[in-house]
């Protein structure tokens, strides 16, 4: 009970600090904070399916990109729609794609789902590169809006909403029980009356739509996107590593991993200007986490510590042997 209150006080302190941050730092650090919030939110969206349901999505950047392109296309000529209209439009578009992709692929066992999602993102890169309306490889520009505080609070709002929805749905509702049950033992979950195909699809769509919101804000923020910058596989790779580092299947793990890795990324860029070094750090982080911290950083503070690497075991076993996460 004591630790629960301590956690609540810490959470309130963090939120107050984040609300006041624009008054405390300059625009440079505000941009870094905006990016950190985006990655914390994106990592959380990946964790919905990867951590809570145990299905590894290697094409999650596809949904980030769909949100980004929806906003870019709708805000640009000739439509010129307001930014806040483009967000729900991107969400609906992404949801449709997620149902079309998820319905058949979530029935696949083992690595096939991961491969299918990776292939989907690759198809979108190629498609966006060859067609005209996306601007092809040259990409699309958006009307510039140079208010750092606006984008900071947009990302902050989206991140808070993402974590609130995740907490309510996955940690405090019977929907979350169903999702975690199918992760731990899919045939047993079916035997409890849970339509696992439907629950997986619902989780997949929610995860995809959340990523699209961040894609929409990102596109308007950076004012220019191209296929590689929003559909690129490295975007998904970073989300995966952030979640592994923070804690797979935990609520706060993606926030910890997302903020930590993004800040490391920016510091490396600031001092060495070398992004290849960051890629090496990502690789090393995966190895170290798997070996020494299978429950991630969040696992160090969990009230009920899971058996070492138990969730990671489930997810990896499903990926490798295709036995629905069973040992």
């Amino acid at each position: 009970m004591k630790s629960r209150w301590a956690g609540l006080v810490l959470l309130i302190a963090v939120i107050v600090l984040l609300v006041l941050l624009p008054l405390l730092v300059n625009n440079y650090w505000l941009r870094i904070a905006t990016g950190a919030l985006m990655w914390a939110g994106l990592a959380c969206s990946w964790n919905m399916l990867g951590g809570y349901a145990g299905y590894i999505n290697f094409g999650h950047s596809a949904f980030f990109g769909l949100g980004a392109y929806a906003t870019a296309l709708l805000m640009g000529d000739p439509l010129g729609l307001p930014f806040f209209v483009t967000i729900p439009a991107g969400m609906v578009t992404t949801a449709i794609f997620a149902v079309i992709i998820g319905a058949p692929t979530l029935r696949l066992r083992g690595a096939y789902f991961a491969i299918a999602t990776w292939a989907f993102a690759e198809v979108l890169i190629q498609f966006a590169t060859v067609v005209d309306f996306t601007g092809g490889i040259g990409g699309l520009g958006l009307p510039p809006f140079l208010d750092e505080r606006f984008f900071y609070f947009a990302m902050f709002g989206a991140a808070v909403l993402t974590y609130l929805v995740t907490w309510a749905l996955f940690e405090r509702s019977r929907f979350g029980l169903k999702v975690k049950a199918l992760r731990d033992h899919e045939p047993a979950a079916e035997a409890m009356g849970i339509n696992t195909s439907l629950v997986k699809l619902q989780t997949f769509v929610l995860s995809a739509v959340t990523a699209s919101v961040f894609g929409s804000i990102f596109a308007y923020w950076v004012t220019f996107i191209n296929p590689k910058s929003v559909f690129g596989g490295d975007i998904t790779d970073q989300m995966v590593v952030m979640v592994l580092l923070g804690g797979l299947g935990s609520l706060w793990g993606p926030a910890i991993g997302g903020v930590a890795l993004f800040v490391v990324n920016r510091l490396i860029w600031m001092y060495w200007g070398d992004t290849a070094f960051y890629i090496a750090i990502l690789g090393a982080a995966i190895v170290l986490v798997v070996l020494f911290l299978p429950n991630g950083i969040a696992g160090l503070f969990a009230r009920r510590t899971a058996k070492s690497g138990a969730v990671l075991d489930k997810v990896v076993n499903r990926l490798v042997d295709g036995e629905g996460g069973q040992r």
């Binding site: 019977r174 929907f175 029980l177 169903k178 975690k180 049950a181 992760r183 731990d184 033992h185 045939p187 047993a188 979950a189 079916e190 035997a191 409890m192 009356g193 849970i194 339509n195 696992t196 299947g249 009920r304 899971a306 058996k307 138990a310 969730v311 489930k314 069973q326």
Partner: protein
């Protein structure tokens, strides 16, 4: 038609007719015919590989039959999805406990009620913990339980489903006598509430003490059925277990 394990009252909750399922050359179900009456506790015995667990998988929808009929509570369920069969009121346990390892004991029970039985689930979870004497491990992770406690928890999940028929697959195998006693008492109490059981068991003492009728399977089909005394005197059953004289 192959031999039928007939229930005498004619009031059946489960009826299986000419059920077949072959896996390549293995005839796991080779024309199964049996009935389970309402409020009956039917034991299902037979040597290893006789098709008992496959029959459970076929009835519960985990495996689809090649052909045949399965009527549960008046409805044809052969080929139905496992979740749909569960929603009709059929619950099962697995030979090797299939728990939600990363969830607590209480969460395992709540997950069992998450679909269709949610109102009052927390109160029923508390009752089930008390019934199975698992209160002291309620907040432990399922993976941290002993083997016997895992069997209890899986049985508890079936209880949480508020099922009218529960299939128990070796639920007392290898457990401490105290845990075995808890399970047997719980089965008796549930039967008083109108629940029927089909129980796979190798422990003949348990079969004798709890089952109203025993169904014997061998080579994917029912050999015979009857009371415990009938079964132990049946030469065909003896041959099934001990082999035929050369």
């Amino acid at each position: 038609m192959t031999p039928t394990a007939t229930h005498p009252t004619g009031d059946h909750i489960l009826t299986v007719r000419d059920l077949y399922r072959h896996f390549g050359g293995i005839k796991a179900a080779n024309g199964v015919n049996l009935e389970v009456g309402r409020r009956e506790i039917a034991g299902l015995i037979g040597p290893n590989g006789s098709g008992k667990s496959t029959l459970f998988s076929l009835v519960s929808g985990t495996v689809t039959p090649d052909r045949g009929q399965i009527r549960f509570d008046g409805r044809e369920i052969a080929g139905s999805k496992a979740y749909a069969v569960a929603r009709m009121g059929l619950a099962r346990t697995f030979q090797i406990p299939a728990l939600f390892d990363n969830m607590t004991v209480t969460e395992n029970l709540l997950a069992a009620a998450a679909q269709g039985h949610w109102p009052g689930a927390h109160e029923r979870a508390a009752e089930t913990l008390a019934l199975l004497k698992l209160e002291h491990v309620a907040e432990n992770r399922a993976s941290d339980l002993s083997g016997g406690q895992q069997k209890l928890l899986e049985f508890g999940r079936a209880v949480m489903r508020q099922a009218s028929l529960i299939l128990l697959d070796e639920v007392t195998a290898g457990v401490h006598p105290n845990i075995r006693k808890i399970i047997l008492e719980a089965i008796a109490r549930l039967r008083e509430r109108g629940v029927s059981f089909l129980v796979i068991e190798h422990d003949m003492e348990m079969v004798r003490s709890v089952c109203d009728r025993i169904i014997v399977m061998d080579s994917g089909r029912v050999v015979t059925s009857g009371s415990f005394n009938d079964i132990v005197r049946n030469s065909e059953v003896m041959q099934t277990y001990l082999g035929r004289p050369q």
